[in-house]
Amino acid sequence: MHVVLRNPRRELDLAGPMSVAKLLGRLELNRESVLVIRGDTLVPGDAVLADEDEVEIRPVISGGLA
C-alpha cells in the first residue's frame, strides 16, 4: 500500500494486507491523534488495508490558541 503522512509530508510503501491498528502501531502513531483515510473514506481501527490501497494518515492536532 502507498501511505502518505502529513505534517510533515512523507510517503512510504508497505506490504498489505494489514489492519489500520497494526499500521499505526508499526508507525508508532497514537490513534487518538490521527485519522486514517483510504481513498476518500475514513476507515476504523479494524479495517484491513490491501496491498493496492492508497492511504492517508492525517494528524488532527492543531496547536494555535485563539
Binding site: 502529513r6 505534517n7 497514537n30 490513534r31 487518538e32 491523534s33 490521527v34 485519522l35 483515510i37 473514506t41 475514513l42 476507515v43 476504523p44 481501527g45 479494524d46 479495517a47 492525517r58 494528524p59 488532527v60 492536532i61 492543531s62 496547536g63 494555535g64 490558541l65 485563539a66
Partner: protein, 325 residues
C-alpha cells in the same frame, strides 16, 4: 466494525464513547453533542446573530457548518495573519467554504489594515508568535462583534483545546485563568458574549466531521505554532487518553462541575478596574490597550519572513503561562 446505532459498516470508532459509527450516525452524533453543549451551558438561542471566528482549519469550519445546519444565523470572520503561504491557504479555505454555501464571511487583513503581520510582531517584540497572534485575534473579533451588533461570538475550541489549556493552567496554578475557563464567557462592557459549542467534541471528531461532510479545510499546521507548549500538553493528554479513554472528557467536565467556581472570584477580581483604552476604547488595565500598543510598536515595519522567526519558542521577557482562551 459495525455502527453502534444501525449495525451498518462503521467508519470511525470512538473509544471514549465505546461506540462506532457509520457516516450518517457519526454526523448525527456530532450535531447532538453540539446541541447538548449549547443547551447545557445556555450558549445561545435560535434567532440570535452569531459571529463565528473562522481560521480555515477543521474546528472553525466544522463549527460554522454545524451552526448553519442547526439553523443559526451565523456569519464568519477570518483574519489574514500574514504567516506566509499558511495564512494565504487558510484564508482561501475559509473563503471557498463560505462561497460554496452562500455564507457571509467578513475579512480583515492585519498587514493591510494595521500595518503588521504575526511574524514581524514576533520578531520585533521578541515574544512567542502565538502571543501577538492570540491577542490580535481576540481584540479584532471582539471589536467586530460589538461594532456589528452580533449577539454572540462562537469559537472553535474543542475538548482537546480546553483540556490542554486546563492542564497548563493547573500545572502552573494560573488561578485567574482557571476562574474563566468556561464554555461561555458572559457579555461585559467592552466584551461580547463568547461561546465554545465544540467543547464536547474531540479534535479527532471535528476532523472526521469535516472529512465526512466534504469540508476542504487547512490540514497543515501553523508553522509558528510548531513545538509550542500547547501542543506538548495535547500530546501528553493523548498518551493518557490512549491508555484510558474518556480521561480528557472527565478532566475538563469534572473541573467545570466540581472546581471551576472556586476560582471565579479571582477571575472576577482581575476584571475590576478596567478602563477604556484612550486610543480605541477597548477595556484595558492601563491607559492604552495591548493591541494598540502592539500596532504602535510594530505597525509599518518591514515584513519579517516567516522563515526567520523561530516558532514555538519563548524569547525575551517571560510571560504568564497558559493563558485561557
Amino acid at each position: 466494525m459495525k455502527c453502534t446505532v444501525c449495525r451498518g459498516p462503521a467508519v470511525i470508532d470512538l473509544r471514549r464513547h465505546n461506540a462506532n459509527f457509520c457516516p450518517e450516525h457519526f454526523l448525527r452524533f456530532c450535531r447532538d453533542q453540539v446541541v447538548r453543549a449549547i443547551d447545557d451551558h445556555g450558549m445561545m438561542a435560535p434567532g440570535q446573530r452569531v459571529l463565528v471566528a473562522v481560521s480555515g482549519g477543521k474546528d472553525s469550519l466544522a463549527l460554522w457548518d454545524l451552526l448553519v445546519e442547526l439553523g443559526y444565523d451565523a456569519e464568519g470572520m477570518v483574519i489574514g495573519l500574514g504567516i506566509g503561504d499558511y495564512s494565504d491557504a487558510s484564508t482561501a479555505a475559509a473563503v471557498a467554504f463560505a462561497e460554496q454555501r452562500g455564507l457571509r464571511l467578513h475579512r480583515i487583513d492585519l498587514r493591510g489594515e494595521y500595518g503588521y503581520d504575526i511574524p514581524t510582531a514576533s520578531a520585533v517584540t521578541r515574544r512567542v508568535p502565538c502571543s501577538s497572534c492570540g491577542m490580535s485575534k481576540r481584540h479584532l473579533i471582539d471589536k467586530a462583534a460589538l461594532d456589528g451588533g452580533y449577539d454572540v461570538v462562537a469559537t472553535g475550541h474543542n475538548l482537546d483545546d480546553e483540556a490542554a489549556v486546563l492542564l497548563g493552567n493547573v500545572l502552573h496554578w494560573q488561578t485567574e485563568y482557571l476562574g474563566r475557563q468556561e464554555p461561555v464567557l458572559a457579555e461585559r462592557p467592552g466584551f461580547p458574549r463568547k461561546v465554545k459549542p465544540l467543547v464536547r467534541l474531540a479534535e479527532r471528531e471535528t476532523a472526521a466531521y469535516c472529512v465526512l461532510r466534504g469540508i476542504d479545510y487547512m490540514v497543515e499546521e501553523c508553522p509558528m505554532a510548531a513545538g509550542n507548549r500547547h501542543l506538548r500538553y495535547k500530546a501528553a493528554l493523548d498518551e493518557i487518553e490512549a491508555a484510558s479513554p474518556g480521561t480528557k472528557h472527565a478532566f475538563y467536565f469534572e473541573f467545570l462541575a466540581r472546581a471551576a467556581d472556586r476560582f471565579r472570584p479571582e477571575a472576577a477580581a482581575a476584571q475590576e478596574g478596567l478602563t477604556p483604552c484612550t486610543s480605541c476604547g477597548a477595556p484595558t488595565t492601563g491607559e492604552v490597550c495591548a493591541f494598540c500598543r502592539l500596532v504602535e510598536r510594530v505597525g509599518g515595519r518591514e515584513p519579517v519572513p516567516v522563515e526567520l522567526v523561530r516558532p514555538g519558542r519563548r524569547r525575551g521577557k517571560a510571560r504568564k503561562a497558559g493563558a485561557a482562551t
